[in-house]
């Protein structure tokens, strides 16, 4: 920490040079959130600062930011760290981590707060590039897999044509009907496949809204509980735990949950257990929101577990595209989170979406 001797205008000697020249942004704020001192790098990036409010300088806002770390430090005299997105003087998005430290006066009050900002814009853009590269690699694998599914479907189409042809030639109504069914079934398969594939390959721009994850879970139960119960499977939610709203792409998370729940229902459906059950749960702990889908279906063998996310992979033959978990993982990663699976063969599986609040996307409509 810079030496503070009650005189904020001056850090003597070397510490003054250090203050000006360190390769990070430094600002000292008074209780009105006005910048009373700033270093060279900060001014170079964000423009002139003196006497301006920090939220104006970093984010071009007119009021204090939500969950402002400086406010917290003034309040409790502790250090605080958080990640933000600002706008630099030429209007580009600038990502930074800020740590706030108290500068105490002789009476022990926090007179000023020092903010040290580390610019992570480059790291963020690397992360984005990496996600994009992974997505393209997955698209490549998917295309190979797709060719395979398409061949199977084509074979079904040819089979249908053959049956119809023979049916007509022999005047055999039931054959013709059977062939027609085969044709319809396989055409439907093609269109589903193409739709799934397109939505996966396109990658959509996330639409972020503040939403209580519990609401998304309720939707899913509402939508699928009936269908599940007709198959003899109980689909339910654990007791609701209070959770603050979070910036999420609701449609995308909905897609994730649909994929996980449909997998859970699939595995329960072929299980011979008496009581088949799928449970949805959402909890927050230590800044992580965890949404889980558990089933008491077949479980997943260890060597299969290794494959389910990475490669284009399905054990459902023509009834699965193997895109479900790949898409889910992609969406979860775009939310800064990760997906985990715990499974005991024969007993069942738990798929967990873990979303660290700190890494959730930034709201589209606020700076």
């Amino acid at each position: 920490m810079a030496p503070y001797n009650g005189n904020i205008e001056d850090f003597p000697g070397e510490s003054g040079i250090l203050f000006e020249k360190v390769p990070c942004y430094i600002a000292i704020l008074d209780r009105d959130y006005k910048i009373v001192r700033s270093n060279e790098k900060l001014r170079n990036t964000f423009g002139s600062c003196r006497g301006r409010h920090c939220y104006d300088v970093y984010k071009k806002r007119s009021v204090v930011c939500e969950k402002c770390p400086t406010e917290m430090t003034f309040h409790d005299g502790q250090e605080h760290t958080s990640t933000h997105v600002g706008i630099n003087k030429v209007g580009d998005e600038t990502h930074y981590i800020v740590t706030t430290s108290p500068l105490m006066g002789e009476n022990g009050n926090v007179d000023y707060v020092m903010e040290i900002l580390t610019d992570i814009t480059q790291i963020k853009s690397l992360e984005k590039d990496k996600l994009e590269a992974e997505r393209l690699a997955a698209v490549g694998q998917t295309v190979a897999g797709l060719a395979h599914s398409v061949k199977n479907i084509l074979m079904g189409v040819e089979g249908g044509m053959y049956m119809v042809e023979v049916g007509i030639n022999k005047g055999d109504q039931s054959r013709t009907a059977e062939g027609w069914d085969m044709l319809q079934r396989n055409i439907t398969k093609v269109s589903t496949l193409v739709k799934d594939f397109l939505s996966f390959a396109k990658g959509r721009k996330p639409v972020v809204k503040l939403i209580d994850p519990n609401v998304l879970l309720d939707d899913i139960v509402e939508l699928y509980a009936d269908t599940a119960s007709k198959m003899g499977i109980e689909l339910k939610k654990t007791r609701k735990k209070y959770m603050a709203s979070a910036p999420l792409d609701p449609d995308a998370i909905h897609t994730c949950l649909t994929n996980l729940v449909s997998n859970a229902i699939d595995t329960c459906h072929i299980s011979s257990k008496d009581k088949k059950i799928v449970i949805l749960d959402a909890v927050e702990d230590g800044g992580n929101i965890t949404i889980s889908v558990s089933d008491n279906g077949s479980g997943i063998d260890y060597d299969i577990q290794k494959k389910i996310f990475t490669t284009f992979f399905t054990t459902k033959g023509g009834n699965g595209t193997g895109l479900g978990l790949l898409t889910t993982r992609k969406i979860v990663q775009e939310h800064g989170g990760k997906i985990e699976v715990e499974s005991i063969p024969g007993k069942g599986s738990v798929f967990k979406i873990v979303l660290p609040r700190k890494q959730l996307p930034v709201m589209n409509d606020s700076p």
């Binding site: 061949k151 074979m155 089979g159 053959y162 023979v166 399905t314 054990t315 459902k316 033959g317």
Partner: protein, 129 residues
Amino acid sequence: MSTNGKKILVVDDEPDVVKYITSLLEDNGFETVTACNGKEGMETAIKEKPDLISLDVTMPGETGVRMLRNLSEHEATKEIPVILVTGVDFSFKSFIEQRKQVVPPKAYFEKPIDKDKLLAEVKSLLGVG
């Protein structure tokens, strides 16, 4: 047609593919039995002693490659000619021919199949028609 009594086992996980191939074969005077995975395929092969097997490569559970090996290792089935019908592209042909544990199949057909060629191959392998 002198195809009477010749029995063919069709193994594929796609019901429509099974339906197609069995109809085609039955329309040409063959008898058929079916299985939807490698395990069931192996059991049926031992029980039914077919004269020929048409086998899909990529099936859930036990794959076609595995079944091919099992067939060649079992006394009762090792002489039965096998035709692979596969969605996998033809580079697979060289892959499987390099596997020492696996007796290469008698013929390959890539999906979707050419039905006249398949029939001709079946007839020539069984020495009929």
